[in-house]
Amino acid sequence: MSVRKKSADPKGVLTGVHYLDGDYAIAEGALAAGCRFFAGYPITPSTETAERFAERIPLVGGVFIQMEDEIASVAALIGASWAGVKSMTVTSGPGFSLMMENIGLACMMEVPIVIANVQRGGPSTGLPTLTGQGDMMQVRWGSHGDYEIIALSPDSPQECFDLTIKAFNLSEMYRVPVFIMTDECVGHMHEKVVIPPAEEIEIVERKWYEGPKDKYLPYKPDVDLVPFMVKAGDGYRFHTTGLTHDERGYPVINAECQNWCVRHICDKIRLNADKIIEYREDETDTAEIVVVSYGITSRVAWKAIQDARKAGIKVGSLRLITVWPFPEKKIEELAGKIKAFVVPEINLGQIKREVERAAKGKAPVYPVSHCGGWVHNPNDILKVIKEAAK
């Protein structure tokens, strides 16, 4: 299936060189991607994205609405997306927990929406103003049942901008919720952000159905497994539900349809994983130790990697841009060639376990974990690299 692409609508693109924090860069990325509907609820440390959107959207044309809670926010996004408008919200830990219910609905209804989680220390109210990476498993498994999502992890305000556009493109391409899993540090970090001219920004269009109206089936998989979509008000008189459903979108409550329906929403991501997954490698081909990192931690790890190289250790870096679907093939391939993995992250080993699973025992995995509130000291990572290299 060929993907339909076009350049960005210049109305939303603030072309130029800016000095922005990660939260603002997410709002600008969304506007550049064509997002015209934002429903959200204020929560530290993500609120600046909502504020920026509220300020900018009246000048671009669209809707900002502050909802009564995060449950309502995601419900509103799904409604808006069915009306054909690209939609997003932003939150942090406690709000993310509230969103889980309708994230499941978006997966089941196969609706493109984008959610940014500016992570803070958890659980519960935790550390509202301090960083964390503790929601990496929640984003993958937080709603009930089997499903698949896509999650990206930016490590700078520039990447917040770039990956927000990518998030919208993937979301439209696969009819799936896409998450920008950033954190307080990147969210509040000010750096140079280059916003290119609109014609240089590639936008993926939704897979609109164009056949006869009475033949439309909202959940009939196309060759790439992603069904075509229509929008409300165009006369298709379609039905969609959070219940297990058939190709028509009609509820069918039995094991056979459940198997078809759930495998379908999982397979369209799993079988397209190679096309979705993006990572950055540095000297992994000659490495004995590979540091697997993502988000803010990859920037701290970079210092440790350089120091280790100075000390004569052959260290490579595998930085995850896409955390979900997880690049398990890449990890397994590296595992067969290297001595060990080192996984620094601001949680107690969420992605470390995933690396272990993918490495299939071919290489040991050394965690560098803490519970949040600060970024790693590069020396702590260096220490573990040295230990792993022994």
Binding site: L59, G79, W82, G84, H239
Partner: protein
């Protein structure tokens, strides 16, 4: 002649029903189907383009309405049809968006969304079928269950104060508020039609029998007995003070149209305010230029 060609076997409302999903799941004696019939009739009379009408339901017996209406129809999560409808309406203001769900869905689990949508005067029609209990899950106590009624999670009788829905709707900012029982078919139809033709947050409560659970547990008889109860105990009092509309167990039901006022909607307020503040820089949304 093939059976499908026989005119008399065609349901007169077939254009608006998903006949391929019949028979429906509602019990005999249930009132939801009556409200659906009233809705379709109101829609036909309203002159609205059905292709531009969306129905959003939540979870529960009434939550199944979206699945049977041949319109763009959305069966969402429990309690969330109002915010879902909010997104749908704001993203495409040309749509007429109707929330069709039950009392447990709209004012139980979804109560917070309900009051906020009313407060914003979101341009939605909310039809709330009130059967005094959580019927889909087996007759549990609800935010609308009258004091003294027996429910499966209030086996010794309910002792919680129930919501007075028209009062809640008016106090929250609704611009149209009516209550009927499903016995008042023509009046339900008229209210829905008025709401469809009006802009703003419209709320219509329709009291219906739940024969299988509420009536059985309380030994109130069958559907006909309950309609007789409505007939004998409901009193039409248009414009009544909504503070006086509490419903006691098997008590009097005051019905009527209580509120019908004009007030700018959320989108009116947004467009007017931002145009005033930002002038020509403002890019209006959903306004035909």
């Amino acid at each position: 002649m093939k059976p499908e060609d026989r005119l008399e076997e065609k349901h007169p409302m077939e254009e608006f029903l998903r006949m391929d999903r019949m028979p429906h799941i509602w019990c005999s004696g249930c009132g939801i189907g009556i409200v659906v019939t009233s809705f379709i009739e109101a829609l036909q009379k309203s002159g609205l383009d059905p292709d531009k009408v969306c129905v959003v339901s939540g979870i529960g017996c009434t939550g199944r309405v979206a699945g049977y209406l041949r319109l763009d129809s959305f069966h969402t999560t429990h309690g969330r049809p109002v915010p879902f409808a909010t997104g749908l309406k704001l993203a495409n203001p040309e749509l007429k968006v109707v929330v069709f769900s039950g009392d447990g869905d709209i004012v139980g689990i979804g109560g917070n969304h309900f009051i906020h949508a009313a407060r914003r005067n979101m341009d939605l029609v909310v039809i709330c079928v009130n059967n005094f209990n959580y019927a889909m899950t087996g007759g549990q106590v609800a935010a609308t269950s009258p004091i003294g009624a027996n429910l499966s999670t209030a086996p010794y009788g309910n002792f919680e104060y129930p919501f007075n829905l028209p009062y809640l709707a008016e106090a929250s900012g609704a611009t149209y508020v009516a209550r009927w029982t499903c016995l008042h078919i023509r009046r339900v139809t008229k209210s829905i039609q008025e709401a469809l033709q009006k802009r703003g947050f419209s709320f219509i409560e329709v009291i219906t029998p739940c024969v299988t659970l509420y009536a059985r547990r309380n030994r109130l008889g069958d559907g006909l007995n309950l309609l007789r109860y409505y007939y004998e105990n409901s009193e039409i009092r248009h414009g009544a003070d909504t503070r006086t509309l509490d419903i006691g167990y098997q008590g009097k039901i005051i019905v009527g149209k209580f509120v019908d006022i004009e007030k700018p909607t959320f989108l009116d307020c947004m467009n007017n305010h931002l145009r005033k503040v930002l002038g020509n820089k403002y890019q209006p949304w959903g306004v035909k230029s």
